[in-house]
Symmetry: C2
Subunit: 704 residues, 2 copies
């Protein structure tokens, strides 16, 4: 009935075709509150809105806040809000970016007061207020205080200047460099709104595989144009720094971090950047990693490299930071790849400048569907550490397969490292509280692109949202976030909402099941990383699959205990006890740490081979169940997004079957055992799967 | 008032953010008719709609027609139309695709009848009816018959399989090959609707610089998925054929067109294509041109090459055609480049199969802002000829600069070739009437991409529209089309509409004035073709600027009369008389045909140098006037598109100034004469303009 009414109303103004739910509005839809009673309640509660900051003064951020409230309240309850700016004392409990929401009266009218110590804090409060109304929460007896646990809450865009997005599956880069600074897409503002709405406050707009061109005067003018759009929304801009930039665009003969001319070049470059962008956030650097230049070329270490850039940033006194990636491994190094970052960075503890943060991927390998956490977390107490999560689904099915990552990140952030005793979670390492670091940061590799719906898969918006919410508060629950996002994103009744949330919650484990169950990892197709490739060999060993799965006639899995690479020794004793013992290790990490005989008896009572085969089958079955759920949901949400998801789930089932069949046929060469009952027979032989021309796959970057 | 009302209504349903006029709807907006009286008239006139075809039967195209009428009438007048299908006699006056609109009554109700000989014709009639209502034309006393003059009305997409669009300035390719055939963007349907709405009936979805991959089984499955979406809208799909495909994907050692194995390969490939796409339209081929492979490698000629592909298409009996491009020139050939196509193709007249058309660019060089027409038109009476127009603005400012091309195409299509006496216009060559050819076609190189508004510049939609309308009827006037498009595209009052139409009508000549006036050509920057480059030298001569402008101490311009390259001899005597004589040649083609002394006295009484300088200045002044007009229009159209155009016009002024200053400073080296009064002094010296790093320009393809 509601839908019908809407359609009828819109037909009258001829807007039907535009009203399609194409996903562009993300979680900021602000559609009219359908219940007259609730609308009336809300109108009564926000006769006015009081914004209280230490200055009580107007600013571009306050203008943005007002614009968002006007947009939101107009949509939700058809009201143009009256906003009063008042000055009030600084509140210690709110930190720099926190906010409080309370009920007050203004001239006898009911009002909501947003209290904050900064304009950005007030902006977050405004978004929180709108979120409550979008979720139909009561505005009576408001008593909410929310303060982010982490200072720098960043997106990392792996966007090249030619608009190709590395590991991007949602179209091309949002940044139309060719048209900047003269042409400003309205989308830049909507991007900034989306970030601010979940409390993100920074963005690295260029790829870690960096192009020095972005540091040229021509490009800095373009970057400035973006920064000017983002600034009112509390978003600071950061850039990736190519370590060899002094040579490539500076005309120097060297990029040696200890060379005075190199230091002078970076000093001048930082000063030049600040001229364009007074609130420039700093640099992100991938150095001596996968072909990127770095300090090693000059016999220097990562601290030398990071401090080179950190020095002029610190000297400028504008809170500029360097985020130096720990994703470092060398093919010349025959050490187990997952041990190398720890080996490199632990000896450097204490050598990094105060405004350097070492940016560590959640796992020691590379964003696998599941891996053990990086043992580097907490292992360098004198060094600022931050976590890098991957929102884009490089190894989890691109924007075709459904994988809600809130559950994965919850697993990571709640993981106990035991480095300072029980309760030393990664969340506490990253928020700086464990070792009392004054600067903290978190990064998420963006899944955004210029697809109309921003993220390709309509439900992948949930990952962007969840990342933002966890960046704000890493103790939030994945289910709560999924529930919130679903409420904001769809007009679904309670039953349908629960179905969607359940679907999201199980989805990542489903991908694990049909692709890399039981701790398997890095057995995907080379290059585009979409689809199975347990047979991938050739080239450097640590880019092949057998390096990781170690399948042989005896069994399967990477031996990382003492009898093997002993990667386990990099973890706290408590974890060595849990994970290093075959009897204790959870099924999920079994083949990550152990090479296990095919007939090993699992907790289920099944052999490893049978368990493995049944997990693959389970993954396929779960996708089928997801498809059935989604078919049920037809009519429960809008048709356009429903159909987009339907198409993707259909392809996901094909993909899951291919993963299952290809991997089981491949491993069967070693196990020499039949598939257990309950596992469907593959439709083709192994060679068929090996021969599939993967140039035509959805995840392929299209560089042919 | 109307705007306010709309906003108020929409606020009530919370759709403000989506109602933004982002240009996605093109000229198919179907917004509510604002006048109650007109709405009432329309409702009365279309109580029913009768669709009369020879069969009177339902079909996917009839379903598309009904869907479009439902969408349109719902939007315009809030009515769900009643459509009656009736069978009627074939009407000779309507051809294959024409339609008639008349008033009839059905059970006493007023109705409009659409009569056609095909379902596609009926669909065009439905769009015509909707267009009338969008333009607020009366539906009383309907008596309209409209029949296209050309059979195949095609878009050519220079879209690579990796989604990069060669010479595309509106984002990336619409075709998401990686996601086909499983994921179908709703945009494919809207694309087909847009084409059908102006009567286009075919699309070549791949680049003329072709990739043989598109002919692989994997890709044909993807192409089929697109063809299935397009078919109900009367759109046939065509592909570019890489001449060496039998070697690249077929495993043959040769692509020699006279080799039986090669013929067999193409025979089988055509059969395979028809299995996927029963209404496949045929091939477009660029061969032996700019590095593309072709029959010359084997000592064969273009007719041999074209007939190789034409044979299996003809044998299948499904109206498949080969469009063989005449854009052929060789750097080994020292003949004036503009003469080479004529020299190549005239001797082949009579050798091409009946289902081959030679596709000729309007000019003999390459889509310059203005050039003389290609003398090949009409020069091969036994050969089917079609024209290729360029909708995308490769040499006219990409999607930054405003250049309505309706005026240029009108100039081209109305141009008299005199090949069969006076009145032998290019339009009549192309529609087949001049030499009674049974097959006719026209191609326009698309300016579309995945930008939200399809064409980058909001007003560049007018070029897509104008191309479509002229493809239907090449005798339509450019101003009438501009007026129609403006009426469909904006909610502007009469004064504002006239301002917009005037702006469009003058815009191409403005680009000519500030970039290449008086018949200058090919003096743009190399590579991206955006901005001035009269100094461009190096590499093959016919890709340099001096080859064309021939500036020296004596004067300026290409000598193409008898004392020079004698390109003029390829034209009819009447044109040799007009253009070959300095006294007769119009200013617009002066430097195309003549090398003219700097002090030559022009019709204006000025010297060539002064005239040239003042034309450049005039171009700048005209852009400034356009900006002033546009500033005036604020509020007269929606803010979003107004602002997008405002930004582009501001950049266009900068560009125009650069063109003027760079070209005048460059030519001044030769003329050694001062700038006349009224021409602004350049801000920099020549070297500054030469040194500008054009990697950062809007028109740059971004391949760094």
């Amino acid at each position: 009935m509601k839908r019908y009414l809407l359609a009828a109303l819109l037909a009258g103004v001829g807007a039907t075709s535009v009203m399609a739910e194409d996903g562009y509005r993300l979680w900021l839809r602000y559609d009219r509150v359908e219940s007259r009673e609730t609308r009336s309640d809300y109108r009564g509660a926000v006769e006015a809105i009081v914004v209280q900051t230490p200055t009580g003064e107007a600013s571009p951020t306050i203008d943005a806040l007002k614009a968002e409230l006007a947009r939101g309240l107009d949509g939700l309850i058809g009201r143009d809000p009256t906003v009063h700016l008042v000055a009030g004392e600084t509140r210690d409990d709110l930190g720099a970016d926190g906010y409080a929401l309370t009920n007050v009266t203004v001239d006898g009218d009911d009002a909501v007061r947003i209290t904050a110590n900064s304009d950005a804090g007030a902006l977050y409060g405004a978004f929180a207020l709108l979120r409550k109304m979008q979720l139909r929460e009561s505005l009576d007896a408001l008593d909410e205080v929310s303060v982010p646990k982490i200072d720098r809450r960043l997106l990392n865009h792996w966007d090249n200047l030619n608009r190709f997005v590395e590991r991007g599956y949602a179209g091309f880069s949002l940044w139309e460099w060719n048209y900047l600074p003269d042409i400003l897409s309205p989308r830049y503002t909507d991007y900034a709104r989306a970030l601010a709405s979940v409390g993100l406050n920074g963005t690295v707009v260029t790829n870690v595989n960096a192009n020095a061109l972005v540091l040229t005067p021509e490009y800095l003018t373009k970057v400035k144009a973006l920064a000017d759009v983002f600034r009112p929304w509390g978003i600071r801009i950061y850039l990736t720094a190519r370590f060899s930039a002094p040579m490539e665009i500076g005309g120097l003969e060297t990029a040696d971090p200890l060379d005075p001319a190199v230091q002078a070049w970076w000093d001048a470059k930082v000063a030049e950047i600040y001229e364009h962008i007074p609130d420039f956030g700093g640099f992100l650097v991938k150095a001596n990693s996968e072909g990127q230049p770095g300090p090693w070329e000059y016999g220097r270490d990562h601290a030398d490299g990071a401090n080179l850039l950190a020095k002029p940033l610190a000297a400028a006194g504008r809170d500029g930071i360097v985020m130096w990636r720990a994703f470092v491994y060398a093919f010349e190094d025959t050490t187990d790849r997952v041990k190398q970052a720890y080996n490199q960075f632990v000896p450097l503890d204490g050598k990094f400048a105060d405004n350097v943060l070492v940016q560590i991927k959640n796992g020691p390998l590379d964003f696998m569907p599941r891996e053990a956490f990086s043992p580097l977390f907490g292992a360098t107490p004198q060094t600022n550490q931050m976590v890098e999560l991957q929102i884009t689904q490089e190894y989890l099915g691109a924007s075709i397969q459904l994988a809600y990552l809130g559950t994965m990140w919850e697993e990571v952030l709640d993981q106990d490292t035991y480095v300072a005793g029980e309760g030393s979670t990664i969340g506490k390492v990253v928020d700086g509280s464990l070792f009392n670091h004054p600067v903290s940061a978190i990064a998420g590799v963006a899944n955004t692109g210029d697809d109309r719906n921003w993220t390709g898969h309509p439900l992948a918006q949930a990952n962007w949202y969840a990342y933002g919410r966890l960046a704000w508060d890493h103790e939030l629950g994945a289910r709560d976030i999924a529930t919130e996002w679903t409420g904001l994103t769809f007009d679904a009744d309670e039953e349908a909402s629960t179905q969607i949330v359940d679907l999201l919650m199980g989805s990542r484990e489903t991908v694990v099941n049909y692709s890399m169950p039981l701790g398997l990892h890095h057995i995907m197709e080379r290059g585009h990383h979409y689809g199975p490739g347990p047979w991938v060999t050739g080239g450097r060993a640590d880019w092949t699959s057998p390096y990781y799965h170690q399948a042989d006639e005896v069994g399967l899995g990477a031996n990382r205990i003492a009898s093997g690479t002993n990667a386990i020794e990099q973890y706290a004793p408590e974890l060595q006890e849990q994970w290093g013992q075959l009897a204790n290790v959870p099924d999920e990490l079994l083949l990550w740490f152990h090479h296990v005989p095919w007939d090993y008896e699992m907790r289920s009572g099944r052999t490893l081979w049978n368990e493995l085969a049944l997990r693959y089958q389970q993954g396929v079955d779960e996708v089928r169940a997801m498809r059935a759920t989604w078919a049920d949901l037809r009519g429960g949400i809008d048709e356009e997004r429903w159909d987009a998801v339907r198409q993707r789930l259909a392809l996901q089932e094909k993909d899951a079957i291919e993963w299952r069949d290809a991997c089981l046929l491949y491993f069967q060469q070693f196990s020499q055992r039949p598939l257990p009952e309950g596992v469907e027979a593959p439709a083709y032989d192994l060679q068929h799967y090996i021969d599939v021309d993967r140039r035509f796959f959805p995840g392929h970057p299209g560089d042919y």
